[in-house]
């Protein structure tokens, strides 16, 4: 592959509420056995990108743990590898990453030393499968300076938390509004860009010189009429998980057969770090309807329309409806859950009741766990 990958995974969003207290968005567990960043990493690996840099900043411990070995995504070759770059104090820099452009700037040496002519920039909060080689082909065919991957949202969905794009008939981007108050379009930027490496270095150097630190505002939007910036539309599933509602909805999407088939049964596969858990176990009295259950879980109670992550224990008489229970949660007997997201490693006491009355309730309990 003629591109190097860069994943901007340092961000946080107030829209994630308490869920981001524990981890960066890129490390959010998804669909029972995956993490947010797996989709970008797997797409890169499956597109034969061999060298990937992950830029981290906010709350990165959980993410680092997930990326502790590059073998799960088949990186770690003699040519290339998986690199994790947190901000770093050097003789000529003592700032955190002040923005996405600054984050790239602080790692410009990495880009300078690459030999690949192109860079694929992605974020860690998208759930999708994408052949970046096709995007690159498109980019070259259009003689583009920058290609922005975008997606048409249904008009019912609120698009104002995204960058909104308007393209002309030859797919050149003519308008780009970053998180506007009112939606001007329903084509949103997926935060995935293809750009020539030398072009990127040049643009970033110039922006930083001018004291501008944001890739979208200070590069994409600023250069919109000067550079040839094109849009590439994703036709298949794409979803962003950077708010509690969309995180919940994305997980629930995996209860649909077509979404599962697309991600789990069609080529290529999504890869993730492997936990050595035993198969899931269903004890007498368990009843499960329309739910995903991940490995290592033991189910005794009733589960409906829910996603149960790895190593979850569901006690006798529990009722779980329309909820997401993250990894390694212990539910005592007769717990009632409805419209909830239960934070990982929680222990919920027997006979407790949690209901999201209007919207999704995030349950965080740090009770002592007594298990043999």
């Amino acid at each position: 592959m003629r591109a190097v990958g860069m994943i901007l995974a340092g961000g946080n969003s107030y829209r994630m509420k308490e869920l981001s207290n524990k981890r960066a968005i890129a490390a959010m567990p998804i669909a029972g056995s995956f993490r947010g960043i797996d989709f970008a990493l797997s797409s890169m690996s499956n597109s034969n990108i061999q060298k990937v840099a992950v830029l981290t900043q906010y709350n990165s411990r959980s993410l680092n743990e997930h990326l502790s070995s590059s073998k799960w995504w088949d990186f770690g070759r003699k040519q290339g590898g998986l690199f994790v770059f947190p901000p770093m104090v050097t003789s000529d820099n003592d700032f955190w990453y002040r923005g996405t452009a600054d984050a790239i700037h602080q790692n410009l040496d990495f880009l300078r030393q690459c030999h690949e002519p192109y860079v694929v920039i992605a974020s860690g909060d998208g759930v999708y499968k994408l052949d970046y080689a096709k995007v690159l082909e498109y980019h070259i065919a259009r003689k583009a300076d920058i290609t922005v991957v975008c997606k048409d949202l249904p008009s019912t969905e609120d698009a104002t938390r995204f960058g909104l794009i308007r393209m002309n008939e030859e797919s050149r981007i003519v308008q780009f509004d970053e998180k506007p108050m009112a939606a001007s379009s329903h084509t949103v930027s997926c935060g995935i860009y293809v750009i020539r490496r030398r072009q990127l270095i040049e643009l970033i150097e110039k922006s930083i010189e001018e004291g501008r630190h944001d890739f979208v505002k200070d590069v994409l939007i600023r250069y919109k009429d000067v550079k040839r910036i094109f849009g590439y539309k994703i036709k298949d599933y794409w979803s962003n998980i950077a708010s509690v509602e969309s995180y919940y909805q994305t997980n629930m999407d995996f209860l649909k057969k077509e979404v599962r088939d697309y991600f789990f049964r069609q080529y290529p596969d999504v890869h993730s770090k492997v936990d050595d858990n035993p198969p899931a176990k269903y004890n007498p009295g368990s009843k499960v309807k329309n739910s995903l259950i991940a490995n290592g879980s033991i189910i005794n109670g009733y589960v409906e329309n829910s996603v149960i992550f790895k190593k979850v224990f569901v006690g006798d008489g529990c009722v779980i409806k329309n909820s997401i229970v993250l990894d390694d949660v212990y539910l005592g007997d007769n717990v009632y859950l409805e419209n909830c997201i239960v934070e990982s490693r929680d222990t919920l006491r027997a006979n407790s009741r949690y209901v999201g009355e209007d919207g999704i309730r995030i349950v965080i309990e740090s009770n002592e766990r007594y298990v043999l």
Binding site: S33, F34, V270, D276, P278, P279, N283, K289, N290, L292
Partner: protein, 424 residues
Amino acid sequence: MVKKEMIAMLLAGGQGSRLGVLTSKVAKPAVAFGGKYRIIDFPLSNCINSGIDTVGVLTQYQPLRLNTHIGIGIPWDLDRNVGGVTVLPPYEKVGKAEWYTGTANAIYQNLAYMESFNPEYVLILSGDHIYKMDYEVMLDYHKAHKADVSIAVMPVPQEEASRFGIVVTNENGRILEFQEKPEHPKSNLASMGIYIFSWKVLKEALLTLKDQRNCDFGKHVIPYCHEKGQTLVAYEYNGYWKDVGTLGSYWEANMELIDIIPEFNLYEEFWKIYTKNDILPPQYVAEDSVVERCLVGDGSEIYGEVYNSVIGCGVVIEKGAVVRDSILMQNVVIREGAVVERGIIAENSVIGARTQLGIGEERPNRVKPSVYAFGLAVVGEDTVIPPDVRIGKNTAVTGKTLPEDYPDGVLESGETLDKAGDVQ
């Protein structure tokens, strides 16, 4: 210089013919077990959990699945710069080519491999038992008793002792006598086929017995060491240990995993069992399905009903299908309305819609009554069973079968339908 205190040699070349069509294309250690594992995962995990990072795996019979499963040992952390896991197939030598003719002969042919690690001790294991055991504790016992050979033994009920190789010990654990399947057992300690040898003793014995035909540990090497007056001790093991050599015991061992708190617990944090994960996604259980008393592997999709069963990874059980008391291995598909009772269905097989498997009266199998017994219906890997047929008990089916292979749509109990040429 390379030096390892103890290395393990894992005998994984056997066919396991009593598992019938399950082992027609794979060696017994590569047979699936417990939803996502293969039998060899247990001794391999025991090795790494015991701190043994150098394991030679001796293969001979149908090694492809075993080789791809083991790879370079990543799942067990056995990908090492020095040591790690090495697959050791038989090989051609100057002037002659020879298969592994017996357990000890196989080890003898790999003296050079063992020598390269300068070990003090060599652990001999077989790849066909389900158990968790700390070999380091056994090594401590070996050292404390200044033994030349330690044999792991476990107490069996006195009335069953005549089915095993029995060792008779004195009060210090020193072995006085061996009895192979004795009529009148003098003790109830059965050998588990797990040995620790001091390296010099093993090397000397193997070199002395190198011309012995079908040289075997139980029959030749151990008796030789005993006669030579070396210190043989018995290391008593009291945990769960299951030989899964027959279809009956294989089925039973799988079923025992489903108990609420099984004697052999895979869910303990301590002493994890590792395996190669091919399939990652979670499993999906649909609206109108029933899953009760089951183990279900990753990526399976269940739309029908499953009771008392061990389901592997990537299995699909369609709407209206009913699976009871069965073992389904990876990527099996049970089509709409099919019924499976006491079935063992190997990898990638498809059971047609409304087909019934494992029904009717029990009758002994006509071809291999001792193998296809226990009232089980066994389906080999990559088998296709057409829709709307009925298959009885104590049966075996392999290959891509067609409706005309079933006269009147029935395969009676005790019959064998072999379209893959798997049943010898």
